[in-house]
């Protein structure tokens, strides 16, 4: 858009605008950096001998078998969960993006209803219990195997791809699986990355379903262990032997756990960031 430069009112306006944006930037960055700053504090009382910055809290956490175990569980849930999410969502979205599919409207309505109505926590708990899934990792990934929102944005994306491409491949004798794999998926990279990121974040961040369905401590993923560290419930496990077992973990340990839990996501975020706004807009302004 073209804007007239130069007038005094305009300069004041621009100044205010940029000041506001910088303020937003600071307000967002300061809390996050403060977490990192606390996490780098030395674990022992500062005196002349100890440095100002230390990775002691990280080292101590990474030496805790229970923390490593939780990290492993989280990775298993992440890989297993996202694989399940993507396979189910892509296959369903591909089938439902074909307008000629008989019964498509009924099936979409059937799916949409679950988006609008939630029977609540207790029936879901009883279902998992009666399926015999309590205290197993599948109980954490199966209930959210398909997100209706992600399914809908993927359907919308696939519908916007030119239908003639699939037609041409089919005339040449390609099966539907081949059309999906060789024609549609290569064209769907932005939506696959977006939906994949959403699913990955959901799986990585999930803490309520593990609390609800798992009681075996060896199965707990990182966020649940982080919650225990933060609320000092199991503080004894996270401080080393020569300190008193009953004291709460030092703040450095708590914040190092926060950083370590967030780190894997932070590493993929910049790489994938440019893709997802497109995906969000597609979902938001769907036709």
């Amino acid at each position: 858009m073209v804007k007239s430069f130069g007038s005094r009112g305009d300069k004041v306006f621009d100044f205010g605008l940029n000041f506001f944006l910088i303020l937003v930037l600071i307000v967002t960055i300061v809390p996050l950096s403060y977490v990192v700053i606390i996490s780098l504090k030395p674990l022992v009382m500062p005196n002349q001998a100890t440095p100002l910055v230390s990775f002691g809290a990280y080292i101590e956490l990474l030496a805790q078998p229970s923390f490593l175990r939780a990290a492993l569980n989280s990775f298993v849930l992440l890989v297993g969960g996202v694989t399940l999410n993507m396979v189910l969502t892509t296959l369903s979205a591909f089938a439902l993006s074909r307008k000629s599919l008989p019964g498509r409207g009924v099936i979409l309505a059937f799916i949409l209803f679950t988006f609008l109505f939630n029977a609540g926590l207790i029936p879901q708990f009883l279902l998992i219990k009666n399926l015999g899934l309590l205290d197993s990792l599948p109980s954490v990934v199966l209930p959210g195997a398909i997100s209706v929102y992600n399914l809908l944005i993927m359907i919308a994306f696939l519908q916007n791809l030119p239908e003639s491409l699939g037609e041409a491949a089919r005339i040449d004798g390609a099966s539907e699986f081949q059309v999906l794999w060789y024609v549609m998926l290569p064209l769907s990279k932005p939506i696959l990355l977006t939906v994949g990121l959403f699913y990955a974040v959901n799986n990585w961040n999930e803490f309520f379903l593990p609390i609800l369905f798992l009681s075996d401590k060896d199965l707990m993923p990182l966020p649940v262990v982080l919650r225990d560290i933060l609320s000092s419930l199991n503080s004894a496990e996270y401080v080393d032997g020569n300190r008193q077992a009953t004291i709460a973990p030092p703040d450095a340990i708590k914040m190092a756990a926060v950083v370590l839990t967030t780190l894997p996501m932070l590493m993929v975020y910049p790489w994938i960031q440019s893709h997802f706004t497109k995906g969000v807009l597609l979902g938001g302004v769907k036709e």
Binding site: S4, V27, L88, R98, L101, L127, E176, L281
Partner: protein
Amino acid sequence: MLTPTALPTAKKSVVSRLVYAIWQHRTLYLMLFPGLLYFIVFRYGPLWYTQIAFKDFSPILGVEGSPWVGFKYILEFFNSYYFSQLMTNTLIISLAKLIFGLPLAIILAIAFAETRLRFLRSSVQTITYLPHFLSWIVMAGVLLALFSPSEGLVNKGMGLVGQDPIAFLTDPRYFVAILVGSDVWKETGWSAILYLAALMSIDPSLYEAAAMDGATRWQRIWHISLPGMLNVIVLVTLLRLGGILDAGFTQVFALYSLPVYSVSDIIDTWVYRQGIQNFQLSVAAAVGLFKGVIGLILVVVANRIARKVAGTGLY
């Protein structure tokens, strides 16, 4: 592959044509099968267990064997003193998030669209989208870093001017503000995307024409940008109102504690404690179902209004 023996000839009746069409799409149904199975088992399966909302559930008799009691539990809930407290907390937290979050997201989107410093714009965008991807447990850690009485940044700052530390996270006077503030901090950047998209779709010649006629930047925002976003604003507001009973379960669950139950216990957290921790499955299921039904009605009504007013709905 099977050979379609009787198929090409069967083009007479509607039924046989439908059968033919279904046969033609058999691979697609095969692809749809796992997804559909998921929805039947994990999304519709729970509906079977909603019956315990109307039963006196006993673990020995099981879901099917427990005796029916009709609306006993839901009426008991309506008459209990929890009802008004839970409803009040849920509505206050939900509405406050909407009232504070929505205008800020709109202002942020306008600032993104108006700033001439592209570098500033893209860095603020990248940074403000980030908190959306943090879990509420991680957020609990961030809030602890800011507000804990011992190490918290805010309390340290107040200490410099001689203030005594305040336990913000466990004080009922501040806790609702913490809930609302942290939600706004986490989600505003992300929600601005939608408004920004609306702004980007406004015809630039409108701004040029207004500038020719001597309109100031404020006037252009007021008369062009805001009307251009109006449909999205109406849509988002209506849908948020439709979900008003969802005050943010995972957030409250991750942040609350006994001292602040009085101001932060919402329907969902109560259902969790009553059902899972106190084993009162019937009353918890009844309250959860009540919330689900009201939620469904609100969303459907909100969607109707959105279609009428903004010309587009959620579905």
